[in-house]
Symmetry: C2
């Protein structure tokens, strides 16, 4: 039984009691991703969203940094605060009896951070270290850089920022970013596990009910690119990343899109895996994944392989994307995809933490939460013809972004015109 | 209620039905880690254990590679087969109703792999790709290299092997490795979730009961080192890794050892985290973790940071290890550690997959499975004096291995004598 309530200030609480579990988890999504760094003179690509997510944990309410971390640890809370492009998310899991005391601490962090100026330099140093570690992690780096080139600005902006951006930020920039983006309207709190709905609703009302609304900032979208690019790095492997548009979660074709992406590269007998990994031994990790935002979505494909086999890997991946569009999918592939997707959905539902993600994410995309039965029924209703028809329009080269990272560039098909 | 049964051939089945879940998971631990690559002329550091773990998935029983992967995917099984130093582990999760059909497939993989020679070159290519990707992942690489220098050979041997070793392996080497190490004696099958014990026991007996024993191979231990080392790599960050001995899981001081390691670096207000990350912003990730084998155990410490701050980071880490030995722990720290450890144990118990790990691991170390209540009672019984007394003998420099990886070496304290 899924419960939901929208407070007058716009905060949405969506919760699911899970019988038989002792844990409780929550995810608070705030409209405070790096995409919102533009307004009010906060420097773009500054890493402001990430730095604020770190700063709020360093003292809040009447607790200093040490006392706050200790209080969370004493409640046995496993927690993380992180900024992505669209949201800043605060996620936590603990025992059910500690849920409301944990929410009280999180409410302080979000609404009453101490924002001690002395913390700025250690936080800036951390952000710079994070950017360096990204340079030593080419597989993660290439996906950040792919999103940046594929989605219109600011919807692909990497949350870690840039060295120049992080270096230039001031404490006032961060305070401004916080006051504009940490707000109830646009925020979603998903809670799951050992919870009592009336008590939870009362507590969330007490902690967040009088949190004042803030107007939406204006976002100026700009085209990005290039659609073909190479980043030179003296790595051992060449990283290959591609993206092409697909439909969003609220689109009528959503299930067809998910099925097509999964059959391309979502499980261990999927096409990319079979052709790239099994048959040719080109790389350990190769996949295609579906990624949606509110107004745009993409299929992301990835592989990392040695210089001498990189061109072959890229060619095979492109051939598989083209074959999916041309030949469609078989009834057997659809059956396999369905079994895997249903099984993983059921298993994910048994974890309070992954359940909170599903609750918050469904609300964000759809304004409601889907039941497992609904998802299963929609998957069952798909036919091979359905999915093939959808796939026929997918993965066109002129809409595809192809990015490689490594010592030498590869030959990529040119975009027409 | 934990069920257990040892078959006459030595295979141990240990299972825990979890009410209210639909999933079932299992972990099969085989005594087939890279440490066992020595005997019968199989080349050491050959990656044989990893390659066999890949080969068994490419056709088994009357199914070819494609049919086998498809059969697993059609049962909605999420699975992985991987070799570590001590074990090869086959882990799988699916819906309870698909558990026994999944076990049938896994039994074929383990006992009746096709071992088609045509698969060798793709598998070798994969293993070589994996070694290359490790070169692009300095944080993972440094931990492999730390274990190799700290534990006596072969107990720290990295499972990916070396380029020379992987290149030289033959199909017959791999068959020999399989016939010697994939065996019931020394194997443990942990199962948890939606299971019926009598049916499970009957099925495991049918699938594995007539699997013949194989004699233990002899292992020749050799000392390793050096205790101080630097690996030159043109990375952006310097990786710092250290290890020092502690007691094993079956030792009377085990809980004191776990408490000391956790207070040093096991949670977000732990000492290393506070001193290295919070106060100085030296790196995002810093930790101390406890790692046990049957006859030896170590505390592993890790940090990755920029060249200009690496010496400071190393010095602070060593100072914290020394301070723990000298000053011991406070009652407050012990309370915080307890809250965190208990909370994470309870949460881990709610996942069928992490439960199978605990079942198999407890059996391996202790020959029995501990209840949550037992662990909680042992943690509750600890006093600050207990833990401080234990910590006083820990982290001595002459028993510590310190390894760095990056452009330039650091100054490390010399070992006496």
């Amino acid at each position: 039984m899924i419960e939901q309530y929208e407070f007058p200030n716009g905060l949405v609480l969506v919760a699911e009691p899970m019988p038989g579990v002792q844990s409780a988890a929550f995810t608070l999504l705030l409209p405070a991703g790096s995409a919102y760094e533009t307004a009010d003179g906060v420097k773009v690509e500054s890493g402001a969203a990430s730095m604020v997510a770190e700063w709020i944990g360093r003292g809040a309410g009447d607790r200093d940094s040490r006392e706050l971390l200790n209080a969370l640890d004493n409640l046995g809370v496993s927690h993380s605060e992180s900024a992505q492009t669209l949201h800043t998310s605060l996620a936590a899991a603990t025992l059910g009896r500690n849920l409301i005391p944990s929410l009280e601490l999180i409410a302080d962090m979000v609404r009453k951070p101490t924002f001690d100026d002395d913390e700025i330099e250690p936080i800036r140093a951390l952000s710079l270290q994070n950017l360096r570690s990204l340079e030593d992690d080419p597989g993660t780096k290439v996906i950040y850089e792919l999103r940046k080139r594929h989605f219109p600005e600011p919807w692909g902006r990497p949350s870690p920022g840039t060295v120049d951006g992080v270096t230039a930020l001031t404490a006032d920039d961060l305070r401004r970013f916080h006051s504009r983006t940490y707000r109830p309207n646009g925020a979603i709190l998903g809670v799951a596990g050992a919870i009592e709905w009336p008590k939870l609703k009362e507590a969330v009302g007490r902690l967040f009910g009088d949190w004042p609304k803030v107007d939406d900032g204006r976002i100026h979208e700009r085209p990005t690119g290039p659609r073909r690019d190479h980043i030179v790095r003296e790595t051992q492997q060449i990283q290959i990343a591609m993206a092409y548009p697909t439909v969003t979660v609220d689109h009528p074709d959503y299930y067809r899109a998910r099925a097509a992406a999964a059959i391309l590269g979502g499980y261990s007998s999927a096409r990319l895996f079979t052709e790239v990994r099994e048959k040719r031994g080109l790389c350990y990790s190769v996949y295609a994944s579906y990624e949606s935002q509110k107004d745009r979505a993409a299929v992301l494909c990835y592989a990392g392989t040695s210089t001498d086999r990189a061109q072959e890997t890229l060619d095979v991946m492109l051939a598989e994307i083209a074959r999916l569009a041309k030949e469609g999918v078989s009834a057997e592939e659809l059956r396999t995809m369905r079994a895997g997707l249903k099984s993983s959905l059921i298993m994910a539902q048994e974890s309070s933490m992954s359940r909170t993600n599903a609750l918050a994410s469904d609300w964000y995309f759809l304004g409601r939460v889907r039941s497992l039965d609904e998802i299963a029924a929609r998957l069952d209703a798909l036919t091979p013809e359905d999915v093939s028809e959808f796939a026929a329009g997918q993965g066109q080269l002129d809409q595809m972004t192809i990015l490689t990272l490594g010592p030498t560039p590869l030959k990529t098909p040119t975009t027409p015109g």
